[in-house]
């Protein structure tokens, strides 16, 4: 186990460097100190409020959807689950334009209710931000909560069914404890994502009422070049994020489901119609905006420049390398958090830090630390891959931890009694049990890296264009049709790569 511990420790150090280290670098580079003003604190309050509301709504809606998916087996279920995950991996600007096409002043919903003489719906304002955040995060919440359901051994449901449990009994004895275990974590992750939100809040917020901390950081950095203020705001963001990450770990309920045979769950309780309705509603909410992007995108396909293909290939490579790196980072970290009797929770909390990190501060810090020694152009792709992996790590960790804890609880003692240790233990005892969440984490990392805008403009290399960058440049050049086509390509590639990797982990044995 010492090998795992050392590599786990190295990952912890790397994460602290990327999050807090870069922040300190920015703070130290500041020429004079400035305090936070009234507007900054208003931004902090608004950020917390909208993030809490967005996360709560996402989780509440995700529970019935995840339950519906866990109870029903139907043709195309796997593909549907994957496709429903798409909003989470979309570049923000694309998703916002897709949402506007549905919920905007001239969107589908407004046109439909216009038939009955009603006024168009008003998407702009705080509710627009919440709507967008739920759109982005409902898929993630559903996946994380569904993962909790899938972690329950099929034998438990079989036993419950043989005892003639009703849906309500099933809920009280099996599902409620399961929700207590997974929902706080899902809430925390989504809360953190929403605290760093920036472009959504601006585009749909309707004005400066909706100023988030990330926008205040951007303002400090770009508008005032006030590094001291940028660093302080980033620190506030950390304090909030870190505090919440630790708080959510307290909520982790006891585990121990008993050993299982990895069968596929098949259940007959609950109302099929109710489940079908939930799945249909979620699918409509999440997919119609995507279809709108698809329709717009098809228009512009003929206008796509040839250079889009090398850019797409480069993005795919970045995504695959980021995914590999995420796995290489998350496994030792999770094993370390698992193996420590004291401090495991702290290790896990450090794993979540990077969601609360401001990409702008991280990029600037890395630039300050490296530019004197290494040409930033040479670092463009390595930095993109590293930061993408660090940014995806929390999601992979969140998905992995429950399964890992369970595998240890169920088989740890058996492995110990058989003296299976070290690599053999990882290979034969642990990995088969966590294959599914691990692949999910890797798939998520790959998809997120596809959609990411190269993280940091300071490291941009004009010769090494990626797909999201090409998309923005097309928009800047007035080529909106081609930009939508690029968005469609990005969406298709992200989904394909996510599906392929995720499926790799979901090849099941049904006894």
């Amino acid at each position: 186990m010492t090998g795992t511990r050392i590599s786990g420790g190295l990952v912890v150090l790397l994460l602290i460097f990327l999050t807090l280290g870069t922040l300190v670098a920015v703070g130290l580079r500041a020429e004079d100190l400035s305090g936070l003003g009234r507007r900054d604190w208003a931004a902090v309050r608004f950020t917390l409020w909208q993030a809490a509301l967005s996360a709560a709504i996402s989780c509440l809606l995700a529970i019935p959807v995840a339950r519906a998916f866990s109870r029903r087996q139907f043709w195309g279920r796997g593909v549907l689950i994957t496709v429903l995950g798409a909003p989470f991996i979309l570049p923000v600007i694309v998703a916002v334009l897709g949402l506007i096409a549905v919920f905007g002043r001239t969107g589908l919903v407004s046109q439909f209710i216009g038939l009955f003489g009603l006024e168009p719906v008003q998407i702009y304002g705080w509710h627009g931000i919440i709507l967008a955040h739920v759109f982005f995060n409902l898929p993630l919440a559903t996946r994380l909560i569904l993962q909790g359901w899938l972690d329950v051994p099929a034998e438990r449901f079989r036993l419950a069914q043989s005892l003639n449990f009703l849906s309500a009994d099933m809920f009280r004895h099996i599902e409620l404890p399961l929700l207590f275990r997974v929902v706080p974590g899902a809430f925390m992750v989504i809360f953190l994502i929403c605290t760093t939100s920036f472009a959504v809040a601006l585009a749909l917020g309707g004005g400066p009422r909706a100023t988030t901390i990330e926008l205040a950081i951007y303002q400090a950095f770009r508008f005032d070049f006030d590094l001291s203020k940028a660093a302080q705001l980033a620190l506030v963001q950390f304090a909030v994020g870190g505090g919440l990450a630790i708080a959510s770990l307290w909520f982790r309920g006891p585990r121990g489901q008993g050993a299982a045979l990895d069968r596929v769950v098949s259940r007959r309780d609950g109302s099929v119609w109710q489940d079908a309705l939930w799945i249909l509603l979620a699918a409509a909410f999440l997919l119609v905006p995507l279809v709108m992007i698809g329709v717009k995108g098809l228009w512009g396909v003929s206008e796509l420049p040839d250079s889009i293909w090398p850019a797409a290939l480069r993005s795919v490579i970045v995504a695959l390398v980021s995914a590999g790196l995420t796995v290489a980072l998350v496994l030792p970290l999770a094993l370390l958090a698992q193996s420590l009797r004291k401090g495991g929770a702290a290790v896990e909390a450090i794993g979540y830090l990077s969601i609360a990190a401001s990409p702008l501060v991280m990029g600037t810090g890395l630039f300050i630390l490296t530019f004197a020694w290494i040409d930033p152009i040479l670092l463009a792709l390595p930095v993109t891959v590293l930061v993408n992996a660090a940014m995806s790590l929390p999601f992979a960790l969140r998905a992995l931890m429950p399964g890992l804890t369970q595998a240890e609880a169920d088989y740890g003692k058996l492995a110990l009694s058989l003296q299976i240790t070290g690599w053999a233990r990882l290979r034969w005892v642990i990995l088969p049990r966590v294959r599914r969440p691990l692949a999910f984490g890797a798939a998520l990392a790959a998809a997120l890296s596809m959609g990411d805008l190269g993280v940091i403009t300071l490291f941009a290399n004009p010769e090494v264009q990626t797909l999201p960058l090409a998309l923005y440049q097309l928009m800047e050049a007035y080529r909106m049709d081609a930009a939508f086509a690029a968005a469609l390509l990005l969406l298709t590639l992200s989904l394909a790569i996510f599906w392929l990797i995720d499926r790799g982990g979901r090849v099941d044995v049904d006894a």
Binding site: R105, G107, G207, Q219, S307, A470, Q473, E476, A477
Partner: protein, 327 residues
């Protein structure tokens, strides 16, 4: 450590290969270096005459320069805006441009000896002329209009055009700016981070008017053959915007850098600006503009604050803007 050695090695190899051809490093914004921006054409044209290799570094110009300070690798910085020139000047990194600016074709007089304009335009509200028959003809008319027009703007804290709007209102209304912002606010559908999001919402039909440039319709006329987009021209005048180029004082390639500054005002360079940059060239006779530019609605009067005036007004105007839009 291995990484450092490797990258160091790569740089050595790269610089050895380039030893015969001097390199001119030009910092430029992202849009500029993209294949749809003016960068690639300018690079090709300059390399034909300079026997050198022009290399762009794309990204945030001023933050990067401020972080690098004296260690910057830039020889030339292109694409700075007037709102950042004060900070850029204070770095002391720039040398005088040494160009004759008396024959520039700008609507304002240009006397800056450090930063040289290479294009220009004005902020303007762009609309679809098939949907709006009688567009507002003044700021006052827009603010007092009964029409249910929805406008999209950019945030002055994150966007150059948003900042220009703030100064535009300040230039028109002075001490009454806050009241003007307050009248504008209810007509505003939303405020976006950058120009692209706003313009996308406008072309999607979500907004009736978008804060953009007097030159925006030229793209639609020339590239798409679409004459339905127009800029509303206001009697009070429009805020002038220009992009600038500057030479780094302690460049290792002073002759190349000077040659590039000469090139900026040459006809070859200037003729590329209209259709690659979708703005007016800083020094080109009207007769040489593409046909589409002659169809543009143009204001009689350009409003403009010098960098010192703009810096003095900025924080106060932002506070007024925030207050009015937070109601």
């Amino acid at each position: 450590m291995k990484q450092t050695l490797l990258s160091g090695g790569l740089m050595l190899v790269a610089s050895a290969a380039m030893a015969d051809t001097p390199v001119l490093t030009v910092y430029a914004p992202d849009y500029f270096t993209s294949e749809w921006g003016p960068g690639p054409k300018i690079e090709a044209a300059f390399e034909e005459t300079c026997k050198c290799d022009l290399q762009y570094l794309a990204g945030d110009l001023l933050p990067r320069l401020l972080l690098e300070g004296g260690r910057t690798k830039a020889d030339i910085v292109i694409g700075l805006n007037t709102d950042v020139t004060k900070k850029a000047r204070e770095t002391g990194l720039f040398a005088p441009h040494e160009q004759d600016t008396s024959a520039l074709t700008l609507p304002i007089e240009w006397t800056d000896e450090v930063f040289l304009p290479f294009n220009w335009g004005h902020t303007a509200f762009v609309y679809d002329n098939t949907k709006i028959d009688s567009p507002p003809t003044s700021f006052e008319a827009l603010l007092n209009s009964d029409e249910d027009w929805k406008i999209v703007l950019q945030d002055p804290r994150s966007s150059i055009s948003g900042l220009a709007l703030m100064l535009w209102v300040k230039a028109v209304y002075g001490d009454e700016a806050q009241a003007a912002f307050a009248k504008l606010a209810p007509k505003v559908l939303t405020v976006t981070k950058g120009w692209s999001e706003s313009y996308g919402m406008f072309t999607d039909g979500e907004a009736d008017l978008v804060l953009s440039y007097t030159t925006s319709p030229a793209y639609h006329i020339i590239a798409e053959g679409d004459e339905t987009k127009s800029a509303a021209i206001f009697d009070e005048g429009h805020y002038f915007m220009t992009e600038l180029v500057g030479k780094i004082a302690d460049t290792e390639e002073p002759e190349l850098a000077s040659a590039f500054m000469d090139f900026v005002l040459s006809e070859t360079f200037q003729e590329m600006i209209p259709t690659a940059n979708w703005s007016f060239p800083a020094k080109l006779d009207d007769s040489k503009l593409p046909e589409g530019f002659k169809k543009l609605n143009m204001p009689e009067k350009a409003l403009f604050y010098s960098e010192d005036q703009a810096a003095a007004l900025r924080d106060e105007a932002l506070e007024e803007w925030l207050t009015a839009f937070s109601q």
